[in-house]
């Protein structure tokens, strides 16, 4: 089930790059890059950390569409 995210959008709004984002939530730049590309679905902990950093709910950033 594909997980859609708006991480890149939020990151751009706040003017931070992938390396900084990774440092802020305690993961590598590769992980942020893979999440943004949709290649990796983050753990619940990481999703919450990212959402808390942007001060929004997890659903604002991550969402999935049911396959018909």
């Amino acid at each position: 089930m594909p997980l859609y995210n708006r991480l890149k959008e939020y990151r751009a709004k706040n003017g931070i790059n992938q390396s900084e984002m990774g440092r802020l939530v305690g993961v590598s730049r590769q992980t942020i890059s893979q999440i943004e590309r949709g290649d990796y679905s983050p753990s619940v902990v990481l999703a919450i950390k990212i959402a808390r950093y942007f001060n929004v709910s997890v659903e604002d950033i991550f969402d999935f569409k049911e396959e018909e």
Partner: protein, 259 residues
């Protein structure tokens, strides 16, 4: 274990392996036809044009060295171009990963090539001056190993620059374990996925290789040693996989019971 101790341990083991291989190979070269036949499946009368083989052997080694240096410079160039930009990071990472893979292939290729050259020397020991040929092969092997290690270490440094949380080194005896410990969640998933895929492909290839070698051995009446070695590798790989899976399942059950 600190870096210096690790390096010291690496050089001690590396040196021991080289010296023991040299001594064993040296004596093996002077042993009779029986040992040669058991080791290689060929008899001592195999006709080989040494000059041509020697030229091919040197040329292929040089080619492996060129590929090694090329991959290193390509990786270095990619990192030098690095800007504080996400797209550049992705490109540089891809280039460095590819360079490391190419370098590893060239390195292993060079080692296999030298082993083949040594084996040919053992088989045809009566036809050339074995001492000179043997030492040429040995020196080239050691040189290839040293160059391979140095270039690989430099490539590792470049990769560490790109992924600071993974501190990799060629002097590490269990690099996969180190990588597993240091990796974060996405890197770990990638590592496990690629490890399982590698296992799957390798076991299939080895099984196919085992069948092919068994047939060739039976048809051409060669020594069974190669088929036995490949068969043992297949058994070993599958056993390790099954035991590890069983242990992981078992541990999971124990954890659930404790909860």
């Amino acid at each position: 274990m600190n870096a210096n101790k690790q390096k010291k341990k690496f050089f001690i083991i590396f040196g021991t392996v080289v010296i023991v291989s040299a001594v064993l190979g040296f004596f093996a070269g002077f042993l009779g036809d029986n040992i040669k036949t058991v080791l290689t499946g060929f008899d001592g009368s195999t006709s080989v044009n040494y000059l041509v083989l020697f030229a091919i052997f040197i040329a292929l080694n040089i080619a492996a060295l060129i590929v090694t240096f090329y991959s290193y410079f390509k990786a270095k160039k990619a990192v030098n171009m690095l800007k504080n930009d996400d797209a550049y990071f992705d490109t540089a990472e891809k280039t460095v990963d590819l360079s490391i893979t190419v370098e590893q292939i060239a390195f292993v290729f060079s080692c296999v090539l030298n082993m083949v050259a040594t084996t040919i020397n053992i088989v045809n020991v009566e036809k050339v001056d074995p001492i000179i040929y043997y030492f040429v092969v040995l020196i080239v092997t050691v040189l290839a190993l040293i160059v391979g290690c140095v270039i690989m270490q430099r490539l590792m440094k470049i990769q560490n620059q790109l992924t600071p949380n993974l501190n990799m080194s060629v002097f590490d005896f269990d690099p996969m374990k180190t990588q597993e410990v240091q990796a974060d969640e996405a890197q770990k998933e990638l590592l496990y996925k690629s490890a399982y895929k590698s296992f799957r492909i390798t076991s299939q290839v080895f099984m196919a290789l085992f069948i092919i070698i068994s047939v060739i051995t039976a048809v051409m009446e060669l020594s069974i040693i190669t088929a036995v070695v490949v068969g043992c590798m297949v058994i070993f790989m599958c056993t390790v996989f099954v035991i590890t899976s069983y242990k992981m399942q078992h541990l999971q059950k124990d954890k659930n019971k404790k909860k």
